[in-house]
């Protein structure tokens, strides 16, 4: 195999890639690769004996097959290798999106990292993770904190190591047109994440460099009522929200990582504050949400009163 042309450092890993990934920070100095990304054939029909199989992904011990129709098939294995097999006519921009999302998520799972579906925002010497399902408002909230001067460590794929530290991913947020407008971010200057969707790559100007311990995790929810709610989750109750807000939790069983993952969740549960925050689902009321979180972080002693 040719030596990969591109070398990056993201999620605390050195990544050597045959595909250019311009959003990622370059690797510094001569380093050995933790992860190789190459282009090659990936079976059209999937794995031989998958533990779990849908038409779009299949998983077995240490191996994940992912099929994004008309874009690419991916094979992610052993926490160190991603093979990409593009469909003819697909564009690199779309391929990158799934490489840096689902595929990196699978790599991190395979490396025994706890991957939360969330964004990590720096507060002092620690960070706070905002987790939730797709569309919960994680990136919008992170962008609002960024505008207030906070560094962002992760967007969507949030890697938390065994010591409870978040490794910075790469300095970019994905924002929908409406969210950008709400934040007074001009999208004329930004690139779409794909030509097909009005969602933009918003580059962050003060990239986070340090691995920081997680002080608190908020699970973001919304409801059809007018009021905000914030509810502290304690003791054994912390376990299920952490499990349910794990990135691509559906991969784990087939990868043979379920037991290990439960261990990671319970270890993290012992280290962090966990709360559920529910906002009205009509009108984002972003400033109120930010103020409410700041107030709660002051109460928890995570930011100075």
């Amino acid at each position: 195999m040719n030596s990969p042309a591109y070398r990056y450092n993201a999620f605390g890993l050195n990544i050597h890639s045959h595909i250019e990934l311009p959003a990622l920070p370059p690797a510094i100095g001569e380093v050995t690769a933790d992860v190789f990304i190459s282009i090659g054939p990936v079976s059209a029909s999937g794995l031989e004996k998958p533990n779990k199989a849908t038409p779009f992904y299949q998983s077995a011990e240490n191996i994940l097959w992912l099929n994004v129709p008309d874009i690419a098939r991916f094979l992610v294995r052993d926490g160190n290798s991603i093979v990409v097999d593009p469909y003819s006519g697909s564009d690199e921009q779309s391929i990158r999106l799934y490489l840096l999302g689902s595929c990196m998520g699978a790599i991190l799972h395979q490396r025994g990292v706890l991957v939360m579906h969330g964004n990590a925002v720096r507060f002092g010497d620690r960070c706070v993770v905002f987790a939730g399902h797709s569309g919960a408002g994680k990136s919008t909230l992170a962008a609002a904190f960024h505008k207030r001067g906070h560094e962002i460590l992760a967007d969507d794929v949030c890697a938390i190591d065994a010591e409870g530290h978040v490794a910075p991913s790469f300095p970019q947020l994905k924002l929908w047109q409406d969210a950008a407008k709400r934040l007074s971010i001009d999208t004329d200057e930004l690139n779409r994440i794909r030509l097909q969707v009005e969602k933009y790559a918003y580059p962050l100007d003060n990239p986070a460099m340090e691995h920081l311990p997680v002080a608190a995790i908020y699970i973001l929810n919304s409801h059809n009522r007018d009021e905000f709610e914030i509810e502290s989750i304690r003791g054994m109750q912390k376990f299920n929200p952490l499990k349910n807000n794990t990135y691509r939790v559906g991969y784990l069983d087939g990868l043979g990582l379920k037991a290990e993952h439960l261990g990671l969740c319970s270890k993290l549960a012992g280290r962090i504050h966990l709360s559920r925050i529910t906002r009205p689902n009509h009108g984002f009321k972003l400033d109120e949400l930010v103020e409410m979180i700041m107030g709660d972080l002051r109460n928890k002693g995570i930011v100075a009163a």
């Binding site: 779009f56 992912l66 689902s102 797709s134 059809n224």
Partner: protein, 296 residues
């Protein structure tokens, strides 16, 4: 093993949620009344989470048409995995994709219960639901391209749902020859509940003896659902909507709509209204002709 999905298909505000409450009562043997905030009959067909769980990647990075192309395979997989029949609400019309495949594949469909309601009453309820004027609601029901969650500048928890016009929606399901269907009218569900819900149960392969059907009907009487919403709220209500279970009344249009509004709806939908007994032989609007007087 494929158990097959029963689609509970309706234009919005036609009695779908009441039907789900009924099914929940019947299947779960709720003690006194059904809990409207825990209707576990099955996800709505357009639930993004239900789709994403099978994809293993985010539908959020695809456009609406790209997502629709993936939906048939997702439904087939869910049906294959399920050990028993699923009962899934759907507001999408029965449409075909660019590749000619139906959005709801026959192979994973056990049947479609098509619930229809007099469009003169739907117009009023739909206006409340969407927090718009009745005139706007009538325009939406006449719009052949009407869709829910069609925004492209933000993301919704629901996938885009092509409703089409009210007439096209009703006919898309009623005439979907590839799948088994039962068409029921909301008016018959209200006024001839036992007989209508017995037919529904037989079709959906649920217990259809009179005692079971009546017991389930008693537990989810409209007034009970309404009282429960007033007391505890309803998680499926749209935020601006005053109440989801509002009147549920048959023939409300006679007091609420202006003659011009009635004319507009009849003008837009007369053929389908005639077919399902919402116009009499002279073309005049009626709440619902007796079933035996219509040929549909």
């Amino acid at each position: 093993m494929s158990a097959g999905i029963f689609w509970l298909a309706s234009y919005p505000k036609s009695g779908n949620t009441w039907t789900r409450a009924f099914i929940a009562s019947l299947r779960h043997e709720e003690p006194e009344e059904v809990d409207i905030n825990a209707l576990h009959t099955g996800a709505i067909a357009s639930d993004r989470g239900w789709i994403d769980e099978v994809l293993g990647f985010d539908s959020a990075d695809l456009d609406h048409d790209e997502i629709d192309l993936l939906r048939p395979a997702v439904y087939r997989w869910h049906a294959d995995e399920a050990e028993e029949h699923g009962y899934h609400k759907v507001h999408d019309a029965y449409t075909y994709l660019a590749n000619g495949e139906p959005l709801f594949p026959a192979a994973c469909t056990a049947g479609a219960l098509c619930i229809i309601r007099n469009p003169l009453d739907v117009a009023i309820s739909f206006a409340h639901h969407n927090h718009c004027t009745i005139d706007q609601s009538i325009a939406n029901m006449g719009n052949p391209d009407f869709a829910f969650s069609r925004a492209t500048k933000r993301m919704d928890n629901q996938l885009r749902q092509k409703l089409l016009s009210w007439s096209a929606h009703v006919e898309s399901w009623a005439d979907a020859d590839e799948i088994d269907r039962l068409v029921v009218r909301y008016e018959d569900m209200r006024h001839d509940s036992l007989a209508t819900f017995t037919r529904i149960c037989s079709f959906l392969q649920l217990p259809d003896d009179a005692a079971s059907v009546q017991a389930a009907l008693d537990k989810c009487a409209f007034e009970k659902l309404q009282a429960q919403e007033q007391e505890k709220g309803f998680c499926e209500k749209s935020p601006k909507h005053e109440a989801f279970f509002r009147k549920g009344k048959v023939g409300d249009w006679q007091e609420t709509l202006s003659p011009e509004q009635i004319d507009r709806i009849i003008n837009d939908h007369h053929a389908v209204m005639q077919r399902f007994g919402y116009l009499d032989a002279d073309g005049n609007p009626v709440p619902a002709l007796p079933l035996e007087q219509i040929a549909a």
